[in-house]
Symmetry: C2
Subunit: 483 residues, 2 copies
Amino acid sequence: MTDKSNEQDTKGLTVTKAGDMPEWYTQVCLKAELADYAPIKGCMVIRPLGYALWQAIQDQLNAYIQEDGVTNAYFPLFIPESFFSREAEHAEGFKPEVAWVDNKDDKNGERFAIRPTSETIMYDSYGKWIRSWRDLPLKINQWCNIVRWEVQDVKLFLRSREFLWQEGHCVYETADECHKETLHYLERYRQIAEELLAIPVIMGLKSEREKFAGAIRTYTIESLMPDGKALQMGTSHDLSQGFAKAFDISFQDKDGKSSMPWQNSWGMSTRMIGAIVLTHGDDKGLVLPPRAAPNKVAVVPIIFEKQKTEIIKAAEEVGTLLKEFTPIVDTRDEYTSGWKFNEYELKGIPLRIEVGPKDMEKKQAVVVRRDTGTKEFVPLTKLKQHVAETLEQMHTELYDKAKQRIAADTVEVTDFAGFEKAIEDRKMVHTTHCGDDDCELVIKEKTAATTRCIPFKSGDVKGKKCVHCDKAAQHAIYFARAY
Amino acid sequence: MTDKSNEQDTKGLTVTKAGDMPEWYTQVCLKAELADYAPIKGCMVIRPLGYALWQAIQDQLNAYIQEDGVTNAYFPLFIPESFFSREAEHAEGFKPEVAWVDNKDDKNGERFAIRPTSETIMYDSYGKWIRSWRDLPLKINQWCNIVRWEVQDVKLFLRSREFLWQEGHCVYETADECHKETLHYLERYRQIAEELLAIPVIMGLKSEREKFAGAIRTYTIESLMPDGKALQMGTSHDLSQGFAKAFDISFQDKDGKSSMPWQNSWGMSTRMIGAIVLTHGDDKGLVLPPRAAPNKVAVVPIIFEKQKTEIIKAAEEVGTLLKEFTPIVDTRDEYTSGWKFNEYELKGIPLRIEVGPKDMEKKQAVVVRRDTGTKEFVPLTKLKQHVAETLEQMHTELYDKAKQRIAADTVEVTDFAGFEKAIEDRKMVHTTHCGDDDCELVIKEKTAATTRCIPFKSGDVKGKKCVHCDKAAQHAIYFARAY
């Protein structure tokens, strides 16, 4: 058993982000207490700081979807085996990922899957609930845990057997409305990534090979991490009528005729937290995007024995003044100021505010930005406004910095030699492709790069050729190795 | 396929609450769209209205526990079999309830339980995290799904294989602090039940027979439903040091010595929603306690073809005026006003506000209370204040009404003949008991009544005898049949 006050040296990171990013990532997750390994293979524990970030994401998405008329609900963890086989592509796609529970009460009974996604169990109920055009649109979201058994080695937040997510499942009268809203929920994900988490993303369409099993079109937001790997941050699927057919969902339309509705589904997971760490973190640890940080400020009194009571009181007053930023006011005696500085840097608190004897005298506080280390002496009368502005500025600068990095790490290539070199150099590639499934597979086998998305803002490809097979290009597309 | 507008007769309840309460209960849950049966034995679907009530409970408890310094986190769904056996009583208590998943990757590997409660998986991590007195108290809560496999027949919200709950798990330096907080979280549950849901409860201690497997003391809030069955609404367990021993949790105290900490755990589930239905519902359907109702008001324009546009506009203005009460403003053309009245009565919306041509003329609205049917004509200038006051009044009156019913359904008995008759008459019994485990079991076998709790406000039992065995009474206690 160790006295924690002596642990401060071992608490810091032992590698740099540039030097060994996988090890750096794991150390940040563990030492900033975002997550921990679980005693179950492939599983993780989400610790309070990690969960608080998830809650910030939940709160924001809940606010958005409430505006959009989506309500939350909860469907069973268990799915009968027969449900999976009803939609053939879906069944095939999820087959290797499912954990099964035997149905012990009923020897002849079918097995239950532990949900790897909930289309089938939800649409069985939808088939019962939807009768008339008056019941449409039906827009339901679920926050829940998901199990995908094929994962062996956990990568905290990014890959684990169990994770948390939300899945929205909507049903519409028309294909147009369905498609429009499929894109709308993708836009909500862009807002979460960019406006809440300061993570720039590319919006686009998944290739046929990479789309969701059971969808006709999958839209995605993709970001590029500093190690050159792409991360899919959220997807929205246009399911067309495949599941409606499989689960016998129909409605009486306004003319009294029986019609089949159109569906979409869309999901986003605790992966987002991994993207925060990778995108913004540095050699001192985590850097939290200010809008999502549960505590935006840490107030640290610089305690000298002589004026101890007064300084602690001054720090508490600063805490009260800044209460809208949910400050941590750390007046603990058993840790030094230096230890506290390290701790809040490791944990990524956006602003540190120091209050010492001189500051007290001058009626000011010292404001230190986590990302840049910039130190400013701010009069108490202006502190609240200064903090609000600095947090917003920090959001913008984190976003811009990541945007510039992604631009610098994205390479335009037209020939396959260039393609291979760029992927080897850990870049994301923007190029043109024939759209052929087999060609895409060969590229994956040669380079381990997959198609990320056909961007919405795609230029004209007329006259251009596929980067790999020389056939005519069908679209511009991003390739990268991916998480 | 049926046109919904013709369904209104079949949508209403076909039995009365007094006439057939079990059937009435199921019909309310289904027809008010709180929940539905799932295609999996023993499981249920929580529909948006049911989930919104759960969210109201979540929001309130999250606000309370944030004040109390408890943070949310998430631990794995799967628990290694060996963890269960570490705390003997706990293992024995949960044995019949566990669903197991085979560990297919590892032929010699142990099975995984799907969590029936998370003490063991959480305390394994606690053992790693807690080193020094500086790490205490550690106060973590988890919102999650729970599986208890022994359930065969689902009773919506009240009994199902899978349900949602929260479980708080705290660790303290001293027994005193632990015990004090065990009672504090019970008080939080009382606040949720009484102050949010208007459901009166009795607070007390569970008997040895009824306590949580692994606790030294279980505290409970109990309510009595109108069918004479008691419902346990939340429990808080003083775990003492049993789990700390089993999971090797220790800390260096302020004197530098290794010490063993003290623990509690406390939980509350989606059962609460069943209690709302049973306590407040009536022959027209659900009655929602105003503070928890997601929509506190439904505004229904009384549409006449001539003034249609104006009336709809007036209804929308009333909606805007009352927006803090998250009103439903139902301007749909395809349903009659009568259909809408029935719908919002069935769904328990606390206040219905009608706006018709005459009201428009008089600059007033009609306010109808769901529970009493009281109808008031209120000038628009006073409407907002009137609604706020009426909702609070409704909360108080719902609570008082339930309190009086429970008092009337609780019988003081001193002899066993009286006891048996009272239980047969579907009453809760307040009596004295010897405290003997076997005596309690015999009473259960004879009457199907179990001990509910030894109330905190218990009178003196000196000189009194046990209601059953004539031994000296140890305490006053409540007995009832229970959910």
